[in-house]
């Protein structure tokens, strides 16, 4: 019984690490630019397809690690153009609702475009370990899952380092806290917007590769991560990066434990029950929203 509990916690942490990675991008973009990007999960989907095509060129270990880089750079680049030519012109002129509609439109466009270009057949990013199992005393999992967990943690750690230790990172956080004051301090706001969107998208791309390696790649794959990322973001506090990190792990573990001990049928509903409860009881989220203006 204990081993089942530990096994489920581990399963939850692995899935949760991918949720975190995707949610951080979402929450950063929201925090800095006040954009609720419903197409965020589809950037993950694009990242996964970048990987699918890259591993054809280079197989094995190098291919897999390379595909992470390619996905991050590729999706980051797409993020740059999307921000520059779609969101930025609207940010000053249009209302929040328009921007949400734009992101929903983008989500539909990307999904259907992907079906057209890549085909509807589900694919998998080849696992360099060939699903080799790791059997520990109390639980088992595969090597690639552990690597994915490790990779997400490293990416999250590096991002934290960037945001707290570098000048640019501090500028991003400052903009998130108070746009006008940051501008008065001489921070180039449009540069920060662009950078945030690129970094956020790149993280989504990375998350997509991890997701596509342990799960599957198909044009509709972005929808679930988007919803989960919103659940995580609301749980941790909109715009709060630390909230997104812990929120992702909490959601992952809550889902697996809830599925195991409460009801398997409502496993996916747990995230949404959390959203409702958090909004009712602690609307600012577990870790508070964007820090005080």
């Amino acid at each position: 019984m204990e081993s089942l509990f530990l096994q489920q916690v581990l399963n939850g942490l692995i899935v949760g690490s991918v949720y975190s990675l995707i949610a951080i991008g979402l929450t950063m973009i929201f925090g800095v630019m006040r954009i609720s990007n419903f197409a965020h999960g589809d950037f993950s989907m694009l990242g996964a397809y970048f990987a699918i095509y890259f591993v054809v060129l280079l197989s094995g270990w190098a291919g897999w690690v390379g595909s992470l880089v390619v996905a991050a750079v590729g999706v980051g680049l797409i993020g740059f153009f999307v921000e520059r030519f779609l969101f930025r012109p609207l940010l000053t002129r249009w209302t929040d609702i328009d921007i949400i509609m734009l992101s929903i439109g983008l989500f539909i466009l990307l999904e259907n475009g992907a079906r057209l270009f890549f085909g509807a057949a589900p694919k998998m990013i080849p696992d360099p370990f060939q699903s080799k199992t790791v059997n520990l005393l109390l639980f088992s999992t595969s090597e690639i899952r552990l690597i994915c967990l490790l990779f997400s943690c490293i990416a999250i750690f590096l991002l934290q380092l960037f945001l707290t230790k570098t000048k640019t990172g501090v500028a991003i956080r400052a903009t998130s806290q108070n746009r006008n004051a940051a501008a008065l301090m001489g921070i180039n706001i449009s540069y920060i917007y662009s950078l945030t969107f690129v970094v956020g998208s790149a993280l989504a791309g990375l998350g997509g590769v991890l997701y596509g390696t342990i799960f599957a790649v198909f044009p509709m794959m972005g929808a679930m991560p988007t919803l989960k990322a919103f659940a995580v973001t609301i749980l941790g506090g909109m715009g709060n990066i630390r909230g997104a990190i812990f929120g992702g792990f909490i959601l992952g573990v809550a889902e697996t434990l809830g599925g195991n001990y409460v009801s398997m049928q409502y496993k996916n509903a747990i995230g949404f029950v959390i959203i409702i409860l958090v909004l009712l009881i602690i609307p600012q989220g577990l870790f508070g929203g964007v820090e005080k203006k």
């Binding site: 089942l4 489920q8 199992t133 398997m264």
Partner: protein, 408 residues
């Protein structure tokens, strides 16, 4: 200046007349096609399977149109996307019936959708021939406009059940299935069988279409150690379950319905699907049959390098049955209701030899002549292949019991 504008106007009017004149002439020369509506989840997570069905259907239509169609009129398939959601399916079928004025509706995939769409067809007095969906409900409501070319779930699983009862005799079983009519109908049948053979039912676990993480469910199953696990899932979910079972080091005899064994399934699951079982009508398993061999050959010519799977052959047969009924109903009169009723009447008398076997409908509109066999995935030179394993007369290979992962 004024004159030149007038001249331009004259030119424009003349142009319009020319277009109108030639337009109508071209239209008169070519007969309008015979419209047939096809439902299917062409977008969404089942889109890949719907594409397979469509490929089989297009092969059938091309075959007929290449011979000049029927009464000099081409057959036109009009596709309606159900997204595997009942509400979208109802909207799509209503459009096909009222706006596109189709004579008959074919296709369909996913039981929950077809239960809803077939009721619409019954109310609108339009015959529907369901291609892929196995819930018994579809043909058991006394609807006289509803037909189905796919076996229903009791028929589909009869072979596997026979094998379980006489050969495998499991003591413990568990269920892992889609939370839809497809999953729950299979669950009902296998639950009844388990009671009959005295097997203990350890767990009933569900998941949603489009789920990708099954580690919670599999971890729980691993704790319970069922001898046989019934896994009622489609391609993507089934392949992911096989892969994640390996990652979590869980061994059981997986038994699915059979719809999951598509090309994409084998590509995704790789060797992890070894020993998985199901009940199937895979055309490539019955290549000795000349009708099937001919179908496979033509399919491989039309879609380079692609092997037809169960859905392509079900799609092909579905269209062939519909075409056969339209043909026997005689030249359309132009009165939509008369034509639809005539087609319904001829559908009842269908008797045609196709890739899934002979197709004849019983009183409820259910095909009763198509018999699926229990199949198992076995490795040949490290490559997964499907074999019929029972009954001995039809078997292509003997049953192999699943080995622990480290011994495979």
């Amino acid at each position: 200046m004024k004159a030149s504008i007038q001249f331009k106007w004259c030119l424009l009017v003349a142009l319009c007349f020319t277009v109108l004149f030639y337009g109508t002439r071209i239209k008169a020369a070519e007969q309008p096609p015979i419209p047939v509506g096809i439902l299917g989840p062409f977008t969404g997570s089942l889109a890949f399977n719907a594409e397979e069905m469509k490929k089989g259907m297009m092969l059938a239509v091309d075959e007929i149109n290449a011979k000049g169609g029927l009464w000099g009129r081409k057959i036109e398939l009009i596709f309606g996307d159900t997204e595997a959601k009942p509400d979208k399916g109802v909207a799509a079928v209503k459009k096909l019936i009222t706006r596109d004025k189709v004579l008959v509706v074919g296709g369909g995939y996913a039981s929950s959708v077809n239960i809803a769409t077939s009721e619409v067809c019954q109310n609108e007095k339009t015959p529907i021939v369901v291609a892929i969906a196995i819930s018994p409900t579809i043909t058991s409501r006394g609807f006289d406009y509803v037909f189905r070319t796919s076996p229903n779930s009791p028929q589909f699983l009869a072979g596997v059940n026979d094998w379980l009862e006489r050969m495998k005799k499991p003591k413990t079983v568990a269920f892992l299935m889609e939370n839809t009519d497809y999953g729950r109908d299979g669950e009902k049948i296998w639950s009844a069988l388990s009671k009959k053979i005295g097997a203990q039912e350890l767990a009933h676990l569900y998941f949603e279409i489009g789920d990708t993480d099954f580690t919670t469910q599999i971890s729980k199953l691993k704790e319970l150690k069922p001898e046989v696990t019934f896994n009622i899932a489609s391609t993507t979910e089934a392949a992911l379950i096989q892969k994640q079972a390996k990652e979590l080091n869980f061994v059981t005899q997986w038994i699915g319905v059979g719809g999951q064994f598509t090309e994409a399934y084998f590509k995704m699951a790789g060797t992890t699907c070894q020993y998985a079982m199901g009940s199937s009508l895979e055309p490539t398993l019955a290549m000795k049959n000349p009708v099937v061999a001919e179908f496979v050959k033509r399919y491989e010519v039309k879609y380079q390098k692609a092997r037809p799977g169960i859905f392509s052959s079900q799609g092909y047969d579905n269209i062939m049955v519909i075409m056969d009924a339209i043909k026997r109903a005689g030249k359309p009169t132009g009165d939509l209701q008369v034509d639809r009723d005539r087609i319904r009447d001829t559908l009842r008398k269908t008797s045609i030899e196709l890739t899934q076997g002979k197709i004849e409908f019983d009183k409820t509109g259910q095909v009763y002549t198509v018999v699926p066999s229990p199949v198992q995935v076995q490795l040949v030179d490290g490559k997964p292949q499907l074999f019929i394993i029972y009954p001995p007369g039809r078997a292509g290979a003997p049953y192999q019991a699943p080995l622990p992962w480290d011994k495979r």
